[in-house]
């Protein structure tokens, strides 16, 4: 299952298996950080990171 996810990400993103692994780990890290900021640190909204300076 995990291997097939790696292979699918590698194929769809046009990257190597190692890079696909890196993508998955970084992305999971990003979403976990986002969830942490959103739920615990920000009081639901105040310190939510802004996007592209808007």
């Amino acid at each position: 299952m995990i291997k097939s996810v790696f292979l699918a990400v590698a194929r769809l993103c046009g990257v190597s298996k190692v890079e696909a692994g890196l993508y998955l780990v970084l992305s999971a890290g990003g979403w976990l950080y986002f969830a942490h900021q959103y739920i615990y640190a920000s009081g639901l909204g105040e310190a939510i990171p802004t996007y592209a300076g808007y």
Binding site: S27, A28, G30, P49, Y51, A52
Partner: protein, 385 residues
């Protein structure tokens, strides 16, 4: 301020409606993207939205005229660059504070380049572009303020649009996750390391209080922060584009692995790098017949595009000179023989250190808020100055 949550929510809703419109109604689909993008940009920066719309309409008129008049086809796109110069560097942008003003100028420099690229592509390939395509190129909200520099290819039918919708959404979330990691997690860590060195009230780096080693570390961290910010923003942009089935081009290929300056520009801000080569360096070289001078001039122009200031002039001359020096050195007789005598690991390590140090130096020098600050930074870097 548009939060990531809002950006994702609007993109999910907007793309759902986009996909509900049948694929055969391409104009209607693009029209929806225009309405959505214009509304979002207008809500935050009304002047910028109106300027971008005006520029897109002008590009469309130029494209129409170009079909009949060869002169317009050949030189019409330059009028867009003229507008960029006039609007960006004259005090005509209505903005309430310095931050908004910078953002408007920066956004403008990106959408004008995208429209210029679209116009040139349309002329060389003899492909007509519709008004709504020009409007999407100028206004599509994820790429509005900081690129990447892409044109019609990103929004027309390509491999990404042939993929199942679910795949695109999952890949979109994957890329957005990477973006959040870089944009906020990495940036936060680096900021925690460098912020204690800021003179808090003025948010200026206190260069005078540091020795050369600390200055060097802060310089490298500043560049890392810039990279984390830019790559994070680009990843989120690519992810949001995937929700709509748009293929926003990649902008970075691990620039921190560069072992020479030429290699750096093959990894850093790829769309700008391609733009410089195709639309500045090659025409200059064909006119002047002097590749090294053309390279130097091209980077000076790119420096001025970033900002008309002495700091960015130094940045442009610095990068141009480094490229010229590398091209000269690597082609010098005896270079290959000398290099082959050095241990390849040591050589790579040293060239990597030199490349990253110089790139970080010029980046920090150019991004300091004033010339006095840039000079203080340089003095602090040199022992005994």
């Amino acid at each position: 301020m548009l939060s990531i949550t809002t950006a994702i929510f609007l993109s999910l809703m907007g793309s759902a409606l986009f996909h509900l419109i049948p694929e055969s109604r391409l104009r209607m689909r693009m029209g929806w993207v225009v309405i959505l993008s214009f509304s979002i940009v207008f809500a935050y920066y009304p002047v910028a939205a109106l300027c971008a719309t005006g520029a897109a309409v002008l590009a469309w008129i130029l494209a129409l005229l170009g079909q009949r008049h060869k002169l317009v086809q050949k030189y019409g796109a330059f009028s867009l660059i003229g507008i960029l110069i006039i609007f960006s560097y004259q005090d005509v942008m209505v903005a309430t504070d310095v931050y908004s003003k910078t953002l408007l100028q920066f956004g403008m420099s990106f959408y004008i380049l995208r429209l210029y690229l679209a116009l040139r592509n349309s002329a060389t390939r003899k492909q007509a572009i519709s008004l709504e395509q020009f409007l999407v190129i100028a206004l599509f909200y994820p790429i509005f303020s900081a690129g990447p520099i892409c044109a019609q290819e990103s929004f027309t039918r390509g491999p990404v649009q042939s993929q199942p919708l679910l795949t695109n959404y999952l890949l979109g979330f994957l890329r957005i996750g990477i973006g959040i990691f870089a944009l906020h997690f990495l940036t936060d860590i680096v900021a925690q390391l460098t912020d204690p060195l800021l003179v808090v009230r003025k948010r200026l780096t206190d260069w005078h209080s540091m020795g050369p080693l600390v200055t060097y570390l802060v310089m490298v961290l500043n560049f890392t922060k810039l990279y984390a910010n830019f790559v994070g923003y680009t990843e989120i942009t690519i992810g949001l584009g995937l929700f709509f089935g748009f293929q926003i081009p990649e902008n970075f290929r691990y620039p921190f692995l560069s072992t020479n300056i030429q290699n750096f520009w093959q990894r850093w801000h790829l769309t700008l790098s391609k733009f410089i080569t195709t639309h500045i360096y090659l025409p200059l070289m064909l006119t002047l017949r002097k590749p090294r001078l053309s390279m130097l001039l091209a980077f000076v122009l790119v420096g001025m595009w970033h900002q008309v200031s002495f700091q960015y002039l130094v940045w442009g001359v610095g990068h141009g000179s480094m490229l010229v020096a590398y091209a000269t050195l690597s082609r010098a007789p005896g270079y290959a023989a000398t290099v082959s005598r050095i241990n390849p690991w040591l050589l790579n390590a040293l060239s990597w250190l030199l490349t990253m140090s110089l790139v970080s130096f010029f980046s920090t020098f150019a991004n300091e808020p004033s010339l006095a600050q840039s000079m203080a930074f340089t003095q602090s870097l040199v022992p005994g100055w």
